[in-house]
């Protein structure tokens, strides 16, 4: 099946928020802008509004205009909607301004001076804070988590070799091509006026909860609608709540519609990024290359507020030991508060960081015991029946060894390896190499997350016999609507044209949970199947579900008999059997299932410039059943290229904890000319509890490329890099002089 909205996107007909005319609900719309902090930490002494402007013509919102608590509702409500007299990071929102003339507004906002009495900021999460830098508890630690299996210390005593390494990954900006965009207006409802917010977002119910909390309204008086969303990658998971609040506050005060469209530099400077990490490994290895003990320490830079850091840390540590069997594992971790822009969700959610470290460590282990990198992985890869670091018994039937073998074959690993080594002996300045990474990715929310979420999906039978899927899951490019249509059509025995996907609108759709964690097709897809079943059973006789044209006809008939009424099938999340997780001790089934992958990268390094080019890339992925090959392949290719950027060029430059290179000119994502075709091969092991047999595909592709590429660079040059992005500047310092 082809992407539903594909032709409308290709022909430019799709209307994103900024494309809509200021008519209808947006008639008389004002533009909103944000006044931001010029410093990383301190007391706001004064906000002075430029004297060249008649401020009575502008709508200005300061913290005192917030009806409820000045808090952005999330895990901990520590992030203010507008800085309440004290700022904790550069570019933090301090006040809001709206006006109908966008250029005049830009000038007016530029005239506003925010004066700060500075306090000492924490800008390096790797260094213990001084007393005057403490801002949370006694140590600035946002969250500590631990995983313990067996006894690492005893194992270290008996090791053949002990391998130690310290690995670092940098922040990453999402660079969705549609910048953040939000609109808000007022409507009349049965219980009084309603604040309506419509915008680019991943999680309408996160936004709804944030609005309810800070505006002190119940869900009948706030309404959130998703607009077509031009990319998210996690970047539109939590921050749209903040922008929605900003927009709503301006609209409430102005009593007029308001639109906030970030420009690229504001979007890059102010919104969350991928958490930077520092991961230390100490591994006890047997002579034959088996892992005897893994002692891992994970530290994440959490940024200035808690936001999603605890859950990112959680996913991070569960993936830290990699797809390997080891009897003794100790993982200690913390997320640390700093005065950097808060870090948030980004494709992979902590796993790419810890997997990077784990895979680099595997290469160094291979080196220490004299094994080929593929070999050391083959020796240690999990087999069904063995346990992960949380003592989850691996099952599901994926043969990870076969996966590795077929990736080696498909990529011509051995031939490239031989030829590269021969090439390197003769070329004056080019060096080629090949590298591998084997990865896993837990599908769905961590631990009992799905149980707590308790997601719901409705399907509506319409009078024309069609079935409308009502879920809060959003399409942001990953193909949700197309996949849902296919799953619903299959479940109902109908054609795709008989399925309609309802717009995520909190007045119409139940909370199917956030569109994150590769959970949408697997978890929500399954709920759609069950909701359709519910509908089909309601209309059938004696509990026998109807299918196909009979179902369609029954839906129409029902409406003839019950004019004006709503016909719905419903489903609520039910965990797969025997999945249990102890989230206090981090023991048990951390994820209902895992997706598995192997990445093989072939690279060329130019010793003159230390520039790295990926020549060839193979991604072998087991994501359960592939619902839509074109869409799934696109997810993998896009994820791999995003990971190539993270590995090689997407370097953050910070000044006072703020992004200095907040432009597409200076923050370097790959162009089409920087990457090779990405070879994607799917290995299908259907997962019975996922929609259509699918596990998640969204995030797995982000996990393997960075370590595979660095592994290849090590093979090519001998440079054993331990940090990304591995820019040419950094690689140069690892290469011999006088190359």
């Amino acid at each position: 099946m082809q992407r539903l909205e594909g032709l409308s996107k290709l022909s430019g007909a799709e209307r994103y928020l900024d494309d809509e005319p200021l008519e209808g609900t947006l008639k008389g719309c004002l533009w909103g802008m944000t006044v931001r902090s010029p410093a990383s930490r301190g007391k706001i002494r004064q906000i002075s509004y430029g004297s060249d402007f008649d401020w009575s013509h502008f709508v200005v919102v300061e913290p005192r205009d917030i009806p409820g608590p000045n808090e952005t509702y999330l895990i901990e409500n520590d992030q203010p909607v507008l800085a309440p007299g004290y700022v904790r990071h550069m570019h933090e929102a301090v006040a809001l301004v709206a006006h109908e003339d966008r250029n005049l507004l830009r000038r007016a906002v530029a005239s506003i001076q925010v004066e700060i009495d500075p306090d000492p900021p924490v800008l390096d999460f790797r260094i213990a804070p001084r007393p005057d830098q403490i801002q949370r508890g006694t140590d600035n630690i946002i969250k500590r988590l631990q995983i313990k299996k067996g006894d690492v210390h005893a194992a270290f005593a008996n090791a053949y070799k002990i391998v130690e390494g310290e690995y670092e990954t940098g922040a990453q900006e999402h660079v969705y091509i549609e910048n953040n965009a939000m609109s808000a207006w007022m409507e009349e409802g049965p219980n009084g006026d309603v604040v309506v917010v419509r915008g680019s977002m991943q999680c309408p119910y996160y936004v709804l909860n944030a609005l309810k909390h800070a505006l002190q309204r119940d869900e009948t008086r706030v309404r959130v609608i998703q607009a077509p969303t031009g990319g998210g990658f996690g970047g539109k998971e939590d921050y749209p709540s903040t922008i929605a609040l900003h927009c709503a506050l301006l609209a409430l005060k102005a009593r007029r519609p308001v639109k906030i469209i970030y420009d690229r530099s504001e979007d890059m400077a102010a919104t969350p990024k991928r958490h930077p990490s520092l991961v230390r490994h100490k591994t006890a290895v047997a002579k034959d290359g088996r892992l005897l003990a893994q002692h891992i320490e994970v530290i994440l830079d959490g940024g200035a507020y808690v936001t999603l850091s605890p859950v990112v840390l959680s996913r991070g540590i569960i993936h830290a030991a990699g797809p390997y069997f080891c009897e003794n594992v100790l993982i200690e971790s913390k997320a640390v508060l700093t005065n950097c822009v808060p870090y948030g969700a980004f494709r992979g959610f902590g796993a790419p960081q810890t997997i990077f470290a784990c895979e680099r460590q595997m290469d160094r282990i291979a080196h220490a015991v004299g094994l080929e990198p593929v070999e050391v992985r083959r020796i240690n890869l999990l087999r069904d029946g063995q346990t992960t670091s949380t003592q989850q018994i691996v099952s599901g039937g994926t043969d990870r060894h076969a996966l590795l073998d077929s990736a080696v074959r498909a990529s011509d690993y051995d031939k490239h390896k031989r030829e590269s080594e021969a090439f390197n002996k003769t070329h004056p300045y080019l060096r080629r190499g090949i590298g591998v990474a084997t990865v896993l990715h837990g599908a769905g929310f961590t631990g009992n997350g799905e149980v707590y979420l308790n997601s719901k999906v409705d399907v509506g039978g319409r009078s024309d016999g069609k079935i409308e899927v009502l879920a809060a899951s959003t399409e942001m490019g990953q193909g949700t609507n197309t996949a849902f249509t296919a799953i619903a059509a299959e479940a109902a025995g109908l054609n795709a044209t008989d399925i309609v996907i309802g717009v995520p609108d909190t007045f119409r759709v139940p909370n199917s949970g956030p569109t994150v964690a590769s959970r949408t097709v697997m978890v929500v897809g399954k709920l759609i199947e069950r909701a359709i079943d519910d509908l089909a059973v309601q209309l059938g006789q004696n509990g026998k579900p109807l299918r196909g044209s009979a179902l369609k006809a029954a839906i129409s008939d029902w409406h003839k008999k019950n004019p004006g009424k709503e016909l719905k099938g419903r489903a609520t999340y039910a965990p797969p059997p025997n999945v249990k997780f102890d989230d206090k001790n981090y023991v048990g089934d951390a994820y209902a299932t895992y997706a598995w992958g192997v990445c093989i990268a072939h690279v060329e390094v130019d010793l003159r410039t230390a520039a790295i080019r990926v020549l060839d890339f193979t991604a072998m992925q087991d994501i359960g059943k592939v619902i839509n090959p074109v869409l799934a392949k696109g997810q993998v290719q896009g994820g791999v290229v995003q990971a190539i950027g993270w590995a090689l060029s997407e370097e953050f430059k910070f000044k006072d904890g703020g992004m200095l290179n907040n432009t597409l000119t200076n923050y370097i994502i790959p162009t089409s000319d920087d990457v090779p075709p990405i070879r994607v091969i799917f290995h299908e092991t259907p997962y019975p509890f996922g929609g259509g047999g699918a596990k998640g595909v969204g995030e797995l592709p982000m996990d393997g490329p960075a370590p595979a590429i660095l592994s290849a660079v090590a093979h090519a040059t001998g440079a054993d890099a331990k940090a990304i992005p591995l820019t040419p500047e950094k690689l140069l310092s690892l290469l011999p002089q006088n190359c």
Partner: protein
Amino acid sequence: MNVFMPNTLAEACDLCAKQPDLIPLAGATDLLVHWPLRQSEHDKSYLDLSKLRELRKITWAADSLTLGALTTYWDVLQDSRAKSEFPLLCESARQVGAIQIQSRGTWAGNIANGSPAADGVPVLMAYDASVTLTSKSGARSVPLHEYYTGYRKSVRRTDELISTITMPLRKYDFSVFHKVGARRAQAITKIGLAVTREASAAAPWRVVANSVAATVKRCPAIEQLLQSASPIRKPDDFSSAIAADVTPIDDIRSTADYRRTVLARLLYHSLNGVCPSVT
């Protein structure tokens, strides 16, 4: 903001003479970047050169090539002779931005903008280009390597416009251009190098580097080193000449160290086997 839209060079020069604060506008690929955010620039006055047809020409004479000031990178890439006579122009043009920039950005704008990272300037300089500056009071020609007087400063008076860029037609038996950016397209140069060797000339070498000094910089010490025949056996043997010619810095895009080292390596590997003293 006021905009003047002359149709001839003479009109344009008249306007410049009357109003010295007019900002010339050609392809606008430098001037319009982040335009909505640069509100104070909206209050200035501009002179739109884009419709001055007479400046859009590429002229081959018996002993020279002249690019009108509105010549774009794409124009040069379409010129069949440019590729054989002045291959570095094409190499550089092909690596400026991407096609959307190559189609609008002009060589003269690249010169006038004065960025030390400009990619058009080093190859023009390596071909001994000179710039014609035209004003109401007449025209003068300035060798490009004498055009800049400091960071984004030049000998151009505010009443002058760049009208043409001229390169002598010569026989070169070697030329090379390197652009090192953070990616293969759409990249601002971190370090760039253009080298030409004129066949049977007394001082055959032209070495020009960009992004390693306050301006694009011709490198006389390196040129002399190449001519001197003193043996060069490794990249570091260029170090003292590099130190004499350029002053790279750490900035948002790269480091001084990287720039110095890479310049040496590019010189060494490009000239190894070409310049007899480099082995």
